[in-house]
Symmetry: C2
Subunit: 605 residues, 2 copies
């Protein structure tokens, strides 16, 4: 039944040979990998205006130069990630670039930040999408955590169905959003050109008092949160159709172009319309309302904005499992992240991402706004590290024309590093936890690595010199009486060794005598040892006995404990049987060097 449900949700399993068909075309890849970046259009401009508003209405003029600065940074990031794609065509982004050029610890820092960041991405964007829904339907406000969990479950299942299938379906809302925002900007510009804009923009030659470099930097760094998600393409190169790196580079350029245009368009319209951020209405909503009025176009834009906010999470679903896979291949993450699931995706990564972000949402009760600065910082740390790594690479290899590449990465490094510093300075109270969290994550990466290396050493044998050793066999069979289960188990035990000891734990003398008599009557040819338990525990006397056996014979014999187990026909029948066999097995397995044989007895009723 479980497997039928799984099949219904996930689809039929795919053969390993079908992997090539699970690759993305540029068109689909753009939709999957840019949804995070594009969703920033919905809030990027607003973030800038919110900071400027703290100074006053007149400071809003600065939104134009700040937006241009963000656009400049975007251009640098796109160009430098393009270089990374060609330099590391098998993918990897910040983790690989840092590890190769700056050493393993730096690579782990980049990888750790990104992994944590993808979890934050899902939590933050799903919460934002949920907010959009509950703004439209306030009655649902009490169920926001539930809505968020359902959305995460939906995205998780879609991604478990395989990347092509999820891309095919999720591409529509992404392109719809792009088209609608382009229409909005064009109509807005036309209206502005035709002089139909009512609210006159502020003139910039007014004297603006109270504006400081601090505020401008804060506004700039807030605007930079629109650039999260830009690194996704370079992480996900293995998901592209051949020629993977060429397709990835083109997709990246395309994404930069779209993101840059939409972001500038919205910023420009917000300024010309004289729009100020309001708690009860978003900037995009205000622009759409002024341009189209509150008609069908307005509602289409609102709905598609809510959708893109949800889908921003999907970029993390594409990138997290791949990064986890690469780190697991390097033995820094549990091996399970390397296994491909039924639909050839890295299912464990997908599920872990879904579960952890759901937990985060439940803990925060859906209020994840406080996580946004943390999340932005978590992106710009690996940005900086990967730029630095690329600089190092150019410097070492010095290929033809390396100077320009080096220059691009240097500018990129300086800018992203500055943004990290700005985040740290302006929002320390919200981001300090990263200094606690990242070391813990990196510590675990290293512990995991050590464990795997130690284990490999322990397991290694010399195939020439070491061959299996045979020994004698002592078999201990705990019995609860003379019945069919015991009959079966003793029969099985006799087929593998002559040396069998049946053990009975008696709670009182009367009990012991009765059992002794029964056993003699039966005459099975197996000797019976009766242990007395004053404390009514079966486990303790049994363990003592096995200790003795082990101590006497472990040099010459393997010790096997043979445990009969009832297999009941319905699950609830398990409550009707003492589950001591499970307890005994768990204890012996963990503490003793004895083999446990479970002999099933399938009850017919």
């Amino acid at each position: 039944m479980m497997s039928a449900l799984k099949r219904f949700l996930i689809g039929r399993p795919l053969k390993s040979e079908e992997l090539a068909e699970e690759k993305l075309s540029k068109f689909k890849a753009l939709a999957v990998l840019s949804s995070d970046a594009l969703s920033s259009v919905a809030y990027g401009t607003e973030q800038i205006l919110l900071v400027l508003m703290t100074v006053g209405f007149v400071a809003l003029w600065y939104s134009i130069p700040i937006s241009i600065a963000v656009l400049g940074l975007l251009t640098i990031l796109i160009l430098s990630y393009r270089q990374t794609i060609y330099a590391y065509p098998t993918g990897g982004g910040a983790y690989i670039v840092s590890k190769e050029n700056l050493g393993v610890p730096v690579g782990l820092l980049a990888g750790g930040s990104l992994l944590v960041d993808y979890i934050l991405t899902v939590a933050v964007s799903i919460s934002a999408g949920t907010d959009a829904i509950t703004s439209a339907f306030p009655g649902l406000h009490d169920h926001r955590v539930l809505i968020a969990i359902v959305m995460i479950a939906f995205l998780t299942i879609m991604n478990l169905r395989g990347i092509t299938e999820s891309a095919s379906i999720l591409a529509y809302p992404v392109y719809l959003f792009v088209i609608l925002i382009v229409l909005l900007i064009l109509s807005g510009l036309y209206k502005y050109a035709a002089g139909g804009v009512s609210a006159a923009p502020q003139t910039h030659d007014m004297a603006i008092s109270g504006i400081s470099l601090f505020i401008l930097l804060k506004a700039f760094s807030s605007g930079c949160s629109a650039l999260t998600g830009v690194e996704a393409v370079s992480n996900a190169i293995p998901n592209f159709k051949a020629p993977a790196e060429k397709n990835a580079a083109r997709t990246l350029m395309m994404m930069g172009l779209i993101l840059g245009s939409l972001f500038m368009g919205i910023s420009f319209l917000a300024y010309t319309y004289g729009i100020t951020p309001r708690p009860e209405e978003t900037v995009v909503s205000q622009i759409a309302a002024s341009t189209f009025g509150r008609g069908p176009m307005y509602y289409a834009i609102q709905a598609s904005t809510a959708l893109i906010l949800f889908l921003a999470a999907n970029t993390a679903y594409a990138a997290f499992p791949l990064l986890a896979y690469m780190m697991a291949k390097d033995k820094f993450m549990p091996r399970m992240f390397t296994a491909r699931g039924d639909r050839l995706g890295f299912s464990n990564g997908i599920i872990v991402l879904g579960v952890l972000s759901a937990i985060l949402i439940v803990i925060a009760q859906g209020h994840t706004e406080g996580l946004i600065p943390l999340y932005a910082l978590g992106v710009f740390i690996p940005f900086t590290l990967s730029q630095t790594g690329m600089m190092r690479r150019w410097w070492k290899m010095k290929p033809k024309g390396w100077a320009i590449s080096f220059l691009i990465n240097t500018i990129g490094m300086i800018t992203t590093f500055s943004i990290c510093l700005i985040f740290l300075i302006t929002k320390f109270s919200q981001v300090w936890i990263i200094f606690l969290f990242l070391p813990v994550v990196i510590y675990f990466f290293i512990r995991i690595h050590k464990h795997y290396l130690n284990m490999a050493n322990e397991l290694r044998i010399d195939p020439k010199a070491e061959t299996p050793v045979t020994k004698g066999n002592v078999i201990v069979v705990p019995v609860a009486g003379v019945n069919r289960v015991v009959l079966n188990t003793i029969g099985y035990a006799k087929s593998i060794s002559e040396n069998i000891i049946a053990v009975y734990v008696a709670f009182d003398d009367d009990d012991a005598q009765k059992m002794e008599k029964k056993w003699e009557e039966w005459n099975s040819g197996v000797r019976l040892v009766i242990l007395k338990s004053s404390y009514r525990s079966i486990l303790r006397p049994l363990i003592k006995f096995i200790d003795t056996i082990e101590w006497k014979t472990s040099e010459t014999d393997y010790v096997t404990v043979m445990i009969p187990q009832f297999i009941t026909r319905s699950w609830w029948h398990n409550f009707l049987h003492n589950q001591s066999s499970i307890l005994i097995r768990a204890y012996l397995l963990n503490r003793k060097d004895v083999t446990i044989s479970t002999v099933p007895f399938h009850l017919k009723h």
Copy 2:
């Protein structure tokens, strides 16, 4: 660590021989077994007054004759349960009496009602105690579910420590309550006799309109809820010191005497003081305030009332495990209820009672008032059945002087049956669920019984004719490479059989060839079968292979699957290993008739 914690909470384990010391004296037994009944003093009179108030202030006069009627019923119940104790000196109460005299299904009905009822008792009385606390400290109101759960945990642990120990500690608050209420009644009577009572009682010769038989019956049945818990003594005879039945009978008489006096005293004072029930203050509180003023005595009475409400639950803790034990001995309940724990109590019964009542409180979010009628009906059903059973017994056996005994039980039966009917008629909307619930419970009793009988038949062998059968042995060893784990496992396998097949599941051809080569190099003397898995599942090809082996050899050979298992040093290391061995074991054990041997490999790191 777990076992140290257990030892701290529960105490050192006791030997089976110490059981005799775990018996109760009359003094302690009265405290444990009467707390439920005595706690009714805190609310019994109030229940009557509440119903009468619906007619009007003048109807309160009827509380006196109604209280006398309740007292009469109490006398009948006490006398008839006294007869039951002598008739069934090994204990059992309604379940045993009904089963023996009216047949097994009726016995199950009585037993089922009582079991459910004990759970309700705990939930209702713990909630009442919590209400008393949160009335005193309103700031705790939001934590009422937590407080209730903590109290249940406390009672559960106390009872797991053994009945004598819990009785020694819990006897103090019970006797304190009795002494305080006796003092209250005496002082009240003295004040009344001295003419110091301000509110003049209503005279009873006023014309009272609007009072109907229905209201009177409803008030009477509400007052009867004070009689719940009377049956506890007859259930718990095995817990008494020898001579058990004599001690039990005396304890029962003593309990009746105390309960009757306190109940009548409170009812009389409430009437003479002209007290009306108020939502914000209990009747007992009003009486205490009028008698002593709001001084230390008043607060002592309030605190001890809160305590007795909590401790009412303790009676259920004494009775539930014993009843469950008796029904489990008759194979109507899971066998686990017959096991005595470390401290010789029936721990499983105690824990199950605690868990179920805690669940009930969480579901009801601490508002269990609605359960009271259900709980009262659940008591009067077994009352009626056990009276009927006793009637039948006298009629059949006709011992000397049986006519009087028969008469007592007949009156008892008619009264308790009438009360059942009154509950059904007056409170149907709150008790109908019992008609759904009891059949389900009884259905499960019967299913459990059938399962045990069927199993006994399946397991029975003829010790003369049936002896163990030996067969050959095929051993299947799934291997993941050539390493020390495989070396160990093959060594063990070779010691028990010659017929070994190592199985490797390869995900692609390359993988398969590499493994084949490695295995040849090793030359372990064991043949290797390589299975190809296109779908990256280890389980499915393995199961298919084992199916084939089974089909070929099951006539002549036992099939053993030998699964190596890593035992890691810290629990979190388990996440670093694919737990496929657990999956494979669970699947094979449940579906196939093969023995699973788990060969542990203890990792050193």
